[in-house]
């Protein structure tokens, strides 16, 4: 009997070992399946950015120095770029919240089918090229464009307003591009809120307004926060719309980086600006991850 026992034990051991090596091999295969895509992202997106960032620590003579960063803080031009970038990004984010929140709230009160149809009005712009939409705004906002001519026809203004090729134009265009980025996460969260809770609050004697602010609004905050962070990050690094609708009068960070390289070939200065932009974006993403959880993007 003891021989049989022994051989059973040996078999169990062998099986366990075989299972383990099998599991290891399988994990290795699965790891291999993910690798091509992850490597592509790593090599094309990450390595160049790291290399670029390292350039910011060398001065024109090729010696290690913090010269490039010192200049960002000393130069009035760069300081101005940062101030303008922040002002525009904050303005765009605030306007997006003011327009997007009421829209999402209204959509949640509509029947599901109607809301789904109306969401097409959000999805079609979202899927339309940024360039196409910027072009449309360039036409709408030009001196003899439809907005100026209707305002004159209505008697609101007498002379056409300068709407394009300046700060106003950049902000209007950017709000249009960014609004879906606020609406989509916010609406996703709002739809998940149990409206019976609001009804319960009203049933227990709260005024509808109070019920909204004390019950509904706090529950919608994760979605609102995700939308705000998304819009703010994308605005900070936005290139196309301010470059075209700003008409050269508005210089945001992304344009400054581009022109520092293509016009002045100053890689050190451009990469220092890039590092600051990257750090700002990463801090925002980290914050978003803390509050909202980036996994949610993968779980929908």
């Amino acid at each position: 009997m003891s021989i049989a026992d022994d051989s059973a034990a040996v078999h169990t051991l062998q099986n366990a070992r075989a299972l383990k090596s099998e599991e290891r091999r399988e994990r290795f295969t699965l790891f291999g399946l993910s690798m091509p895509a992850l490597l592509a992202i790593l090599i094309v997106v990450f390595l160049p950015i790291f290399w670029l960032s390292s350039l910011s620590f060398y001065n024109a003579a090729g010696a290690l120095s913090m010269e490039n960063y010192a200049r960002i803080f000393e130069s009035a031009l760069y300081r101005r770029t940062f101030v303008v970038t922040f002002q525009i990004s904050i303005a765009v984010t605030v306007i997006c919240v003011l327009l997007g929140y009421p829209l999402c709230y209204w959509l949640t009160k509509l029947p599901d089918r109607t809301a789904a149809i109306l969401m097409v009005f959000v999805l079609v712009p979202f899927w339309t090229s940024v360039l196409v939409r910027t072009y449309a705004w360039l036409v709408l906002l030009q001196r003899n464009g439809i907005i100026n001519s209707s305002l004159i026809w209505l008697g609101v203004i007498e002379e056409p307003l300068q709407l394009a090729h300046n700060l106003t134009g950049s902000i209007i265009g950017m709000v249009h591009i960014m609004l879906p980025f606020l609406i989509l996460p916010l609406y996703a969260i709002m739809r998940g809120i149990d409206t019976d809770l609001v009804r319960a609050a009203v049933g227990l004697g709260s005024s509808p307004r109070k019920a909204f602010w004390h019950v509904f609004f706090p529950m919608s905050l994760p979605g609102l926060f995700a939308g705000i962070v998304l819009v703010f990050i994308l605005s900070l690094g936005f290139y196309v719309t301010p470059a075209l609708l700003g008409g050269g009068r508005v210089q945001m960070l992304a344009q400054r980086i581009e022109s520092t390289i293509t016009v002045y070939s100053n890689w050190g200065a451009a990469s220092a600006l890039g590092v600051v932009l990257l750090l700002l974006a990463l801090v925002m993403i980290w914050l978003m991850n803390r509050v909202f959880g980036l996994d949610k993007l993968f779980m929908r």
Binding site: L33, V44, I49, L52, A136, L244, L297
Partner: protein, 267 residues
């Protein structure tokens, strides 16, 4: 009574704002379509006469046509490469340990949130060393890296909703892992894979910033040409091109919705 009145005013206010915001979103998007059929030699809205002259100008220009060809080839190739790579990656991540999955997800999400201008400048300097600037290959590689996250995210969310035991059942009945993946899992997440492929196509077709730096010469993309043209003047030909781009994007959107709808009906 007073409260009911207040509630009605609140509701009306909300409806008015909601409709206004929807119009703000959709009208400027669609306004280029009527503009593209204008017969005038300058941009006007509303158009006073009807013609196809701007479409003739677009389709008759060898420069625009070569740019369109470059963009379409790049978009098709990007989608063809990013979709299988991304889908395999999603499957691998779905089955791997949570620790590896979490760090890989952080990596995958980065290209979406890191400012594109930084990716563009980085790729531009990398390509300068490899001699890939102004080549179709260079555009396709850069766009593939940019499109991969969208495919991975879409397919992973599809796998979340898929009952993985089905694949395990197939394997316990003797199917190899590859066979089970191909005949059991892939057909069930087909919709996510197709959505990912569409997203990759549109990502490449509409991409401006990387194309602006990396494409050029004979291999300029349509977005690069449009951007440069818009910097100088408001050429009405762009309205015709924009209309074509909108038609492509919206048909892709409708295509995805239809597949999703059919899938729901089948269920």
């Amino acid at each position: 009574m007073e409260q009911v009145g207040q509630r009605k005013i609140d509701g009306m206010w909300l409806t008015v704002v909601g409709i206004a915001v929807l119009f703000f979103l959709i009208l400027p998007t669609l306004i280029v379509i009527p503009m593209s059929f204008s017969g005038a030699s300058y941009l006007e809205f509303p158009p006073t006469s009807f013609s196809f002259r701007w479409y003739a100008a677009y389709f008759g220009s060898s420069e625009w046509m070569s740019a369109t060809q470059t963009s379409l080839i790049a978009a098709v190739m990007t989608s063809a490469i990013a979709t299988p790579l991304g889908a395999l990656c999603a499957y691998g991540l779905h089955c791997s340990t949570p620790r590896f999955r979490n760090s890989a997800q952080a990596l995958v999400i980065m290209p979406i949130v890191v400012p594109v201008i930084l990716i563009a400048v980085g790729v531009f300097s990398l390509y300068a060393k490899l001699g890939l600037n102004y080549t179709l290959t260079g555009i396709i590689i850069a766009h593939t890296a940019l499109a991969l996250p969208f495919v991975i995210v879409t397919v992973m969310s599809g796998l979340q909703n898929y009952d993985f035991d089905q694949e395990l059942a197939a394997r316990s009945l003797g199917a190899s892992r590859a066979l089970a993946l191909w005949t059991i899992t892939v057909p069930q997440v087909k919709f996510s894979i197709q959505t990912g492929a569409f997203l990759a196509f549109i990502t490449s077709l509409d991409e401006v910033v990387i194309s602006m730096l990396v494409s050029g010469g004979d291999n300029a993309t349509i977005t690069r040409r449009m951007f440069n043209s818009l910097r100088d003047q408001l050429d009405p030909t762009i309205a015709a091109i924009s209309t074509c781009l909108i038609v492509v994007s919206v048909s892709a959107l409708i295509g995805v919705q239809l597949i999703g709808y059919r899938k729901n009906v089948e269920k």
